[in-house]
Amino acid sequence: DTAVSQTPKYLVTQMGNDKSIKCEQNLGHDTMYWYKQDSKKFLKIMFSYNNKELIINETVPNRFSPKSPDKAHLNLHINSLELGDSAVYFCASSQDTLTGELFFGEGSRLTVL
């Protein structure tokens, strides 16, 4: 069983559409994250939830809305998609351990045409 799973793995869509990426973790972790890796390979945190509460909200357009129905799920909804949203989006989870080690999903490659 995959520890952190994201769907879909690939998503191709038109500008202006609304899309969602789902993430689930079966590790029993308290904290989940969304990261964006852009074309320059720069990994940047977008959001972090701890026990369904938002704890990190970086400077991200409000077209991006995370939703955490329970601590095992963190979904990312994106409205009015733009070309610049094309990237790989990684979901991750962690327990509140000393090292803060993250467990990542395989990534969801979003292409906006």
Partner: protein
Amino acid sequence: DQQVKQNSPSLSVQEGRISILNCDYTNSMFDYFLWYKKYPAEGPTFLISISSIKDKNEDGRFTVFLNKSAKHLSLHIVPSQPGDSAVYFCAARFAGNNRKLIWGLGTSLAVNP
């Protein structure tokens, strides 16, 4: 402004030799440093970490060295194996409540048989 820098985008090493990956940081508020390894089409996986109060941590073939005065850390892999070929990310964690990770851009390591 990048607070965590990996100045070498790529590194090529012969199998059996030592691989040294470098990372520099600018912020004294980091309390933990982590190395992640990433294969194509997969999410990053945790490799090894070091607390800011230590100067060395070793795990099998992997050793991380921290030089706080120089704000520099390095990952040594010895002996290098072809399966080590991947992108290696350095990440630094802020001390405090949200423990946000700041990532370098990665170094692509190729270990040649």
